[in-house]
Assembly symmetry: C2
């Protein structure tokens, strides 16, 4: 059951897309006690939406108590007007909740460059606030979707010294999942009592090898936001054993959501993990893993279940990571393909094809220069991706 | 007529793909006088094919007199064996031509990771050399193709102080046309008498805003090579007026070939020029232009003739170039869309759509921080690209 003590949520249709189809597109999460404990990470895109700027400011001030999220419109490249819209909506929400304006974090996702239909949205705020309930997270998880085909939620429970705590995560992804940060919206809620400082540590750590280690199309969104909020209704997280256990729970929720995002990549039919080893250091390993995971030639080969390892080697080669060709190794789901830069004697391509026909598998790529390792998860590139992105908006 | 004094060429089928379809796949260009004047630029991929390494060495030594090119197999990730193959083929070619081994520059393009069928290729060398003729460049231009749908040739004639000179270019492209260098094979031939030093200058200058300013899929090949050879049979290029005129002719040939490569991009239906202005400097402009030109979301929008300028702004934002949102401007083939970060009053989307339905047009993107400018040419991303790259090889 998608519930976390100290949180209520709701969702309504504000007809943001203007299609009159009643689709849920406006969601609210309210941390209904005294806590303002929250941490967040944001897109590193220089073109950033006004709601992201507002979120940053308010997270910085430590005033967060609610998130107001809309899909269908990113409120980006809307300049001062877009900021006014986000301010107005969060003020009105705060009024209805009876909390200060600065307690509301606005998030938007969707098309760039159009003003929000603020009047319609403002009208929808009253029913939105009125329908807040501890059962509301499920409909919230639907309201934030764009081209996602499924909702993405994950829950973990762990036992701390003072008792059990719960961590629940809700995300949206689909396209534009790419370099640097999450490139998605994610909301991680916990009933634990945690300091703002510890929340920041735990979130930064969790994001690095989950949301920051997935790619769909290499495009980085202008609106990426992951927010972690702690209601403090449950037991406190004491340093340092507790913190580790709690951190693992948050990590696990983020990892599940990240996997769901890749698996639901636009047009994707499979999720493939690239594990790069033998790089000079972890940073170079990440460079190589990212170049491989983002290469269109690699991603189309994944779609075709074609063990065309030359494309993988070429992508590692242009990644900027140092590689030694005679030190290259490669295995596909345990099928050893290359060693010391050469095809392994007895390698049968059919064995690799068999692995590549699965929904999920791992390809390990050794680049022969050192101890560095990194992982990136990606999906295949299909004609369906192109179809979706040619049609989206029109 | 595709002829240049001082050059003969030929092409045969060596059945490199093993399909027995008689397709031309082995080509030779011979600079048949005393001249060894040549310059070249190569891929910057760290995974580089043995023939590229051999070319580099021989260009460095100043011994070039012939190029031997095969399609269907890149002879890459083939290590010492691949080097032996390239050495053996160039030695045999040199023997047949009666010139030293080091005079032959081997080039390969095609699948990575398979050894060349050297025996078949060696057998084909005799008829290849025997059929050298001053009319052979046309069939040579067909022998080097991979997934290209058309041959790519361009000719310029210019008048120097001592008379007329000719510059002819032959290239192959199609996929893997991407960052940094040409990511293709190109052979530029001239009858002018030019020093090695001047050839290098002229080529470096020509490549920068032609082959280095196009992208198809962002993948960088392991085998990119552009070679400029001067037979010296025609008039000499005297500094400095002549050099400028000659340089412009080489530039013009490279520009034509680069355009043909983009227009023949895998699955491409249109070629779009992105001109970035208002960057901090030209380097930042290039970063932004490249990110925009390589964005899958932008390229699918081009395919759909959808003026979704938000995707362009987002790509500029994550490019690493500094941008000022309130300084953004954008126009699509003369239709002004954005100014000062805002949609221009009276802008009609239908006007932009009309431009985007054309085969060729330009999009200008101002990012509002300085005087820097740069251009990148790209093609749209269609389902056909995915189909080709899922099917290639299998």
């Amino acid at each position: 059951m998608l519930k976390v003590e100290g949180f209520t949520a709701s969702a309504v249709s504000a007809d943001i897309r203007g299609k009159g189809d009643g689709r849920l597109d406006l969601g609210l999460i309210f941390m209904d006690g005294e806590s303002t404990m929250a941490a967040a990470v944001f897109t590193r895109n220089a073109v950033v939406a006004p709601p992201v700027e507002l979120c940053r400011e308010r997270i910085g001030k430590g005033t967060a108590r609610a998130v107001l999220v809309n899909s269908g419109n990113a409120n980006c490249m809307t300049l001062y007007g877009g900021r006014e819209d986000a301010l107005r909506l969060s003020e009105r929400t705060a009024d209805l909740l009876g909390i200060p304006d600065e307690c509301v974090l606005p998030c938007s996702t969707g098309v760039i460059g159009q003003r929000l239909p603020v009047d319609r949205m403002e009208e929808a705020l009253e029913p939105l606030v009125a329908s807040l309930s501890s059962d509301g997270l499920e409909s919230f998880s639907r309201a934030i979707l764009t081209t996602d085909t499924v909702t993405k939620v994950a829950v973990e429970e762990v036992v701390l010294k003072k008792g059990k705590v719960r961590v629940a995560g809700i995300a949206k992804g689909a396209g534009m999942i790419a370099p640097a940060m999450a490139t998605m919206l994610g909301f991680i809620l916990t009933d634990a009592e945690v300091s703002r400082y510890d929340l920041s540590l735990v979130l930064a750590d969790a994001v690095a090898d989950t949301f920051n280690s997935i790619t769909i199309d290499g495009d980085m969104s202008t609106n990426d936001t992951v927010i972690l909020m702690a209601s403090g209704k449950g037991p406190a997280v004491k340093r340092s054993d507790d913190l580790e256990v709690f951190g693992k729970a948050v990590h696990s929720v983020c990892a599940s959501l990240a996997d769901m995002i890749v698996a639901d990549g636009e047009g994707a039919t499979k999720m493939v993990t690239f594990r790069v080893t033998g790089a000079l250091d972890n940073e170079e390993a990440k460079k190589a893993a990212r170049a491989i995971a983002e290469s269109l030639l690699v991603k189309t080969a994944l779609a075709a279940a074609d063990p065309n390892w030359g494309r993988i080697a070429a992508a590692a080669g242009y990644s900027g990571a140092r590689v030694i060709m005679a030190g290259f190794s490669l295995s596909i789901g345990g099928v050893r393909v290359l060693e010391n830069g050469q095809v392994v004697p007895g390698y049968e391509e059919a064995d690799a094809v068999k692995v590549m026909q699965k929904d999920r598998y791992e390809i390990e790529v050794g680049i022969g220069t050192g101890p560095g390792t990194a992982v990136m998860k990606t999906c295949d590139l299909t004609e369906e991706y192109v179809r979706i992105n040619c049609e989206y908006r029109s």
